[in-house]
Symmetry: C2
Subunit: 336 residues, 2 copies
DNA sequence: TTGTAGGCGTTATCAG
DNA sequence: CTGATAACGCCTACAA
């Protein structure tokens, strides 16, 4: 039979409440009894029961992780899984644990908010999600602190890469290379990050210099990138010499798409991606790209969320941008 | 104030125990009251409190996920994250949730077993781990049901790919291609899967036909594969025409390593990998490889673990092998 | 079939 | 600074 706090207290000739205080490091206890308790606890290997503590204290020291929509593949997504990993590392140092939010317990459907309430999660990280999902809205509107790394909503704190900066770096780099015909292959605008990138491209390019073309890929993968590249070549009135692609995955396909039409990358067309996933440096040609700082995003999300939990301040709309940098590789390396 | 089961019962003129029974679907309750309760519960939006339930029932319907050693990168590992994803999908259908096992709550270190006990997890999935970690041993030796997808231990159920089959498929394929000089670049034998692959290669090749060479890579990544390929060329007394590589990641490097010494892949040297990660089909040349069925591994692990929890049978040593298949691509495509 | 009562292990409150 | 006591919300015998 496992010891509980009552028996431990009894064996120490103390009250349970005193033991509880030293265990949780709050309340006034003399250093002497504190030491005595700590020593004894370690000696007999006593440890608290989480459920009782949660029940009584009305909080769980647990943070919910929510992938909506892509919840069936969320962990396999290299971008989100990296963010999650760094979030996890950070919060564990602060004695929080993480658990996945689900909306279905066996047969019974329940809203995200309901689930969070039954579990008494202290806060939730919205890793990715559908803006239109009413359960997401309900959760964000609730009192539970939330932080997102993917989308923007009223009363929500969002941490994302500085997509505008990334686009600017890409365009500046083209100029440095003396490339004049800059086009873009954008990711599907169902993702807010892709949307931002495309919007900013339009904004920066719109000063009347050269005409330019933007093609929106129909999906996220290699094939979508390939197809978009072919379409770009068909639709543009001149061949581009520098193409900014909304993601590395798309860029891989786009490069092969250009090659399939007889153009050489980087000689004829330089290609720059966005993300810097692992394979970017292994691809042929190695991909020049905008590196997103996934670690920083995860850590910032963790920091913000914990802050919100501890400060108990009301929710507000907030957008925090994490800087990106350009990584130069072979896909833009042209001899001048 | 949230309603609890007592108030709900009161409002229905029933006893709390009756309500509890219908909520948990056990005990004898008339269909009429059952319907009445369900309707009312839905109407007023009542839902159970998880902590109270766990406290009382001594189980949590929660499964622990344990990454030891690589816990700082576990989620980013494409192989393990895929397994975890499919495990998660499966167990959620069975009304289980998953939580990550940690060994440190803020400052306080604790053993995995202690942690699992405080959380009352019903079982744990050992996604990857260090055999020599005493806390792992302690956990496996405990009463908590455990399943591993990475290593073997007494009294542990393990689900892994049929590595032997994979090696045999690879070797048979070489013969089909009329390749005579088969060598291997093995992964570091710190991983049991790599160990199995190498051992089986030795076993199959050892029939006195041709001499062969095996090089053990020093790490897991591209560069290790590259270096191993160069070393292989230096040490082998003849140039191989078919090289089996212990993982796709290593194979990517090995291909470039061979090329760096002037050999063409696949013409001079055919290369086959192991895993079939996403990038394998995008690489140049696209990589022939042995596909591991990560989905099946995750699902089998889930099924086994839930079975162990429900059947309460004593633990035993068990090894379940999941079949693999050969995926043919360009890296072995030679005209005959 | 339904109700009663006790207890799961902890923490919060308030008194000493 | 320490101790007694009452919840927290639920489940499980067992009694009615």
């Amino acid at each position: 039979m496992r010891k509980n706090i009552v028996t431990v207290a009894k064996e120490l000739n103390l009250a349970p409440s005193t033991v509880s205080k030293v265990l949780n490091n709050n309340g006034k206890v003399s250093q002497k009894t504190r030491d005595r308790v700590m020593a004894y606890v370690k000696e007999v290997g006593y440890f608290q029961d989480a459920s009782a503590r949660i029940l009584k204290s009305k909080r769980s020291y647990t943070l919910g992780i929510l992938f909506s929509d892509i919840s069936l593949v969320g962990l396999e997504h290299p971008f989100f899984s990296s963010i999650l990993q760094s979030f996890k590392n950070y919060v564990e140092k602060e004695a929080y644990e993480i658990i996945f939010v689900v909306s279905k317990v066996g047969e019974r459907e329940m809203s995200y908010l309901e689930w969070c309430l039954t579990k008494k999660v202290d806060g939730v990280l919205l890793v990715s999600g559908n803006l239109n999902n009413p359960y997401i809205k309900e959760l964000v509107a609730s009192d539970i602190p939330c932080v997102s790394t993917d989308f923007i909503m009223p009363n929500l704190t969002t941490i994302i890469s500085d997509n505008e900066l990334g686009i600017e770096l890409s365009i500046d780099f083209a100029k440095k290379l003396n490339r004049a015909y800059i086009d873009m292959i954008a990711g599907p605008s169902t993702s807010i990050a892709f949307q931002f990138r495309m919007d900013h491209f339009h904004k920066v390019m719109n000063k009347p210099v050269e005409p330019y073309f933007v093609i929106e890929a129909k999906g996220f993968g290699f094939q979508s990138g390939f197809d978009a590249a072919v379409r770009l070549l068909e639709q543009a009135t001149r061949v581009p010499d520098y193409v900014i692609v909304g993601s590395d995955d798309l860029a891989f396909g786009a490069i092969r798409g250009f090659e399939s039409k007889g153009y050489k990358v980087p000689e004829d067309i330089s290609v720059i991606g966005f993300d810097d996933i692992n394979f970017a440096r292994i691809y042929s040609p190695a991909l020049t790209t905008i590196r997103q700082d996934k670690k920083a995003i995860g850590e910032m999300a963790a920091l913000k969320l914990i802050q919100m939990i501890q400060d108990k301040e009301p929710k507000r709309t907030e957008l925090i941008k994490i800087p990106v940098i350009l990584i130069e590789r072979a896909s833009t390396k042209i001899k001048m």
